[in-house]
């Protein structure tokens, strides 16, 4: 495998307070032209900036992995779209990457977070991998999971929203 070794989790990589929307924009910018050229409608519903404690480059890397998977999943469908939606509630921010696929089977779902598991055709499954993405997000105190309630295919990244810094008075 060409990409068995990854640079995604270098020791001591700084966690910082960052807008999650900014991380998404960086990943989207690298993917949007490809989507447009191939007739995939990439739609963003990002709302106002929400800051979380994270490693921005790693969040961007995970978003790119999810967008890449979504692109590969819809490219052969007649209906091709990918949505990235941010939702904040109860000090939790969720970023959902939803595509026009009809979800994944329970059998695949049980394996999809395992290392090296892929449903992609030979030669197309060398990406970051959901298991590594999940590990990266969990190392930043977040969660990555498949949302089986969604009628389409939806992966969710969830982070606690960082408390605003309180200034001491007096």
């Amino acid at each position: 495998m060409e990409h068995a070794a990854l640079d995604c989790a270098p020791a001591g990589h700084p966690v910082e307070l960052t807008s999650i929307q900014l991380c998404i924009h960086d990943a989207v910018a690298l993917c949007e032209e490809r989507c447009r050229t191939n007739g995939v409608d990439l739609h963003l519903e990002l709302g106002d900036d929400v800051e979380v404690m994270c490693v921005p480059a790693q969040v961007s890397q995970v978003v790119m992995n999810l967008l890449h998977n979504a692109f590969d999943a819809v490219i052969a469908l007649s209906e091709k779209w990918v949505r990235v939606v941010i939702h904040s509630e109860n000090r939790i921010v969720t970023m959902s990457v939803i595509d026009s696929g009809r979800g994944i089977s329970p059998e695949v779902e049980s394996k999809i977070m395992q290392p090296f598991f892929t449903t992609k055709e030979v030669g197309k499954g060398t990406g970051l991998g959901l298991s590594i993405s999940k590990g990266l997000i969990e190392n930043m105190s977040g969660r990555l999971f498949y949302d089986r309630q969604c009628s389409n295919t939806c992966f969710v990244v969830e982070f606690p929203i960082s408390e605003p810094v309180q200034r001491k008075v007096g």
Partner: protein
């Protein structure tokens, strides 16, 4: 869309998703593309194949962009044109000139604009 048709490219990137995306983008513009996940791996590939240009990430494990550029200077045959991209200010203009890096693109980049620049250099070289 086939403005890179007839050109051979080597994409060097250790982020597997970005590597596939960049490689697919270049293929979309007609280039024939091979990929490497590090500067070291790129050098191995270069011993047995020739390319018109290399498009490489700057920050990588196992041989970063600077290492790759330095090693390319030692090649005793026509070197591929070398392009890099980075999300950081990793290298000064004068160092890039010394290392014969034709252009450093800022990440995130638009592949269409990047391909236009690469094509201009390729035409100029031929």
């Amino acid at each position: 869309m086939s403005i890179l048709k007839g050109y051979r490219a080597l994409v060097v990137e250790d982020d597997a998703d970005l590597c596939e995306i960049v490689a697919d983008d270049l293929r979309m513009y007609g280039a024939e593309v091979e990929i490497a996940n590090s500067g070291m791996r790129a050098l191995e590939i270069l011993t047995g194949a020739s390319f018109d240009f290399i498009l490489s990430d700057m920050r990588m494990a196992n041989g970063d962009g600077r290492f790759l550029a330095q090693e390319l200077l030692k090649l005793d045959r026509v070197r591929p044109l070398l392009f890099m991209y980075s999300g950081y200010n990793d290298i000064t203009e004068s160092e890039a000139l010394t290392l014969k890096i034709e252009r450093i693109f800022s990440k995130p980049f638009k592949s269409s604009a990047m391909v236009e620049v690469i094509r201009t250099f390729l035409i100029k070289r031929s």
